[in-house]
Amino acid sequence: MTTLAPTSSSTAAPPLPPTPRRIGAPLRPRDFGWADAGILAASLLSSFLLVWVVFYQVTLLSGIFGFLLCWYAAFLALYWVVTTQVVDRQAATDRTATVVVVTGAFLVLGIVAFIVGWVTWKGVGHLHTNLFVKDMSHFVPADRNVLHQIGVLHAIVGTVEQVGIAAAIGVPVAVTTAVFLNEVGGRGTRIVRTVVTAMSGLPSIVAGVFVYSILVETSVSRYSGFLASLALFILILPSVTRTTEEVLRIVPGGLREASLALGASEFRTVWSVVLPTARSGMITASLLGIAIAVGETAPLIFTSFGNNNMNVNPFHGAQAALPLVLYDFVRQPQGALIDLAYATAFILLALVLILFVLARVLGRQRSTSGALRARLRSVLRPSARSGGSENPSPVGGRAGRPPLEILTVSPNPKEPLLP
């Protein structure tokens, strides 16, 4: 609800405060009344019935997807027509467009919620402690009795190591490339950008076959987790590079100028000003890359190969990974193994979620360790946070940041605070 600021108070105090009135026409969710809901529900129902009669009874078409599409189209048309009876045409068009946009949002949200919910529902019930502490060395697919004795710890270790190494190589290389593209420039920019763009269209299995054919087939190396990291590195490089480049591009040019005008070299400018300013965006970029790498299965078949036994050394010998184990389980005929596959998928999702949360927390706070401790403290003690928000400073105390008092609890010893 939009309220107007009270007008001049030079006259005597009015007996009643001015009544706020709404300005502007758009229908906002909070204004959504019973009448609006009724129109929406009636449109949904009548379009359903209409399309059902026409689609299945009159034209004898079949198929659920065609029906849903026709229903939705008829619903929009009907909703628009009905709304024009209540408000004018422009407002009706506006509300219909709102419905389309909201549908899109709910569709995406629904798909994600459905996938996560389905995997959780099917997987959580089959989680047991052994899954996290054992490997599959005693695994016999036909023997139901060993199913509770096996675990996927070896695959968790493999995935963490392979993705970790891939990110440890990939993120610095990608950031360096992005800095080259955006900060250094020059003749090579166009060709590098073209190559990076072309790489982002590379099918993941090709990356695996590429590493296989130049390293395994030529007997340079045997299967190992590190080879998987190399394949994953090829896959995350273009994504992280392009995203980082976009993030660097929105760092204001004035900051670079300010730094150079202080006598900083171009390297110092990038290192101390541009990259710290873009830090949170770069963490998002790295996350996207890691999210790509965690779920890849195809390139692993050719590189880390898979292994039922625990192998903690990523540089020697075949190594398991969660997607590979998942793939193995799903292909087995027994229902019990399919259940294990869901449990494994749940672990994979949880792993990605933990990584995301971790990176978000790290990305939000400032780099000094003192500030990190202070943030943890403020998170653990919500009362301290609310107390600090009474900071009288006019422009300080921005939402989401720990207040100054908490930050100064444990200052970095290298940077003494001023009195």
Binding site: L260, L262, P276
Partner: protein, 277 residues
């Protein structure tokens, strides 16, 4: 002589920054500037005496800011920028091949039109950023921060907020933080490119006070569109003008009271009295 923008930028040299401290005089001789082959500034010769405030005035697009950026070698950062002539800092040409641009910029600081504190750094770190970039160590950092902020007239407002981010300040405070940041490396000349154009009158007055306070220890060159400001803060004034499709030139330069009181050129008189521009 025409220098290309990049040929001497990364020259490795063991030449130390121009020796000496305290305010230094700047002399520009026959400076011409090009952007991608287009001449934008021609034959500018101007002396900016030690410990004075020089104001560069003139309508938009006459090359004042370009000239200012030539004075600390920021001009060469623009791709396709070229230059002729020389700029001498206490008699040493800053464009001589052996000198590094970074050393020049440390001696000749700059404050920009739009306040640009580093958003990822606290107020404290912002002030010290120039030293950090140049790897200069200071025995008492806290004292330096206090002195710099005091010179910029900001200390009392921020002394209890040292750990807040620079972006949390108001626009006028941010600009004074930028001045403090520029002063912390102890430049010998400070260039200001319309430092008050984005600020309210109160903040403008604070910054003008700051300019008056620091003029003893650092030579100030300021670009401004505000005639009253030029009159208030400057000792020397240079009037730039560019005729249509022609490069900018200095029409008249001299003591501020002469430029505003009895200019010899009619165009100067028209401009300072607000008859055009």
């Amino acid at each position: 002589m025409t220098l290309t923008a990049t040929n001497d930028r990364n020259t490795v040299s063991d030449v130390q920054p121009t020796p000496g401290t305290g305010a230094a005089g700047l002399v520009a001789r026959e400076v011409c500037a090009w952007f991608s082959g287009r001449l934008v500034l021609e034959g500018v010769t101007l002396a900016m005496p030690r410990s004075t405030v020089t104001a560069l005035i003139g309508p938009s697009g006459c090359g004042k800011s370009t000239f200012l950026r030539i004075l600390n070698r920021m001009h060469e950062l623009v791709p396709g920028a070229q230059l002729a002539g020389s700029v001498e800092l206490d008699g040493t040409d800053i464009y001589a091949g052996r000198l590094r641009a970074t050393d020049t910029r440390r001696n000749i600081g700059m404050v920009f039109q739009k306040p640009n504190p580093f958003p990822a750094m606290s107020i404290y770190d912002n002030v010290l950023s120039g030293l950090k970039f140049s790897r200069i160590s200071v025995s008492d950092r806290d004292a330096l921060v206090e002195v710099s902020l005091t010179k910029a007239g900001l200390w009392n407002e921020v002394k209890n907020r040292m750990r807040e981010l620079g972006g949390a300040l108001s626009g006028g405070q941010q600009q004074r933080l930028c001045i403090a940041r520029a002063l912390a490396v102890e430049p010998r000349v400070l260039l200001m490119d319309e430092p008050c154009s984005a600020l309210d009158p109160t903040s403008t007055a604070r910054i003008e006070q700051t300019i008056a306070d620091i003029a003893d220890e650092v030579t100030v060159v300021i670009v401004t569109h505000n005639m009253q400001q030029a009159q208030r803060v400057s000792d020397v004034c240079a009037f730039f003008l560019a005729a249509e499709n022609e490069p900018g030139r200095i029409i008249e330069a001299g003591p501020t009271d002469v430029i505003f009181g009895s200019p010899t050129d009619e165009r100067t008189s028209d401009y300072v009295h607000g008859r055009f521009g």
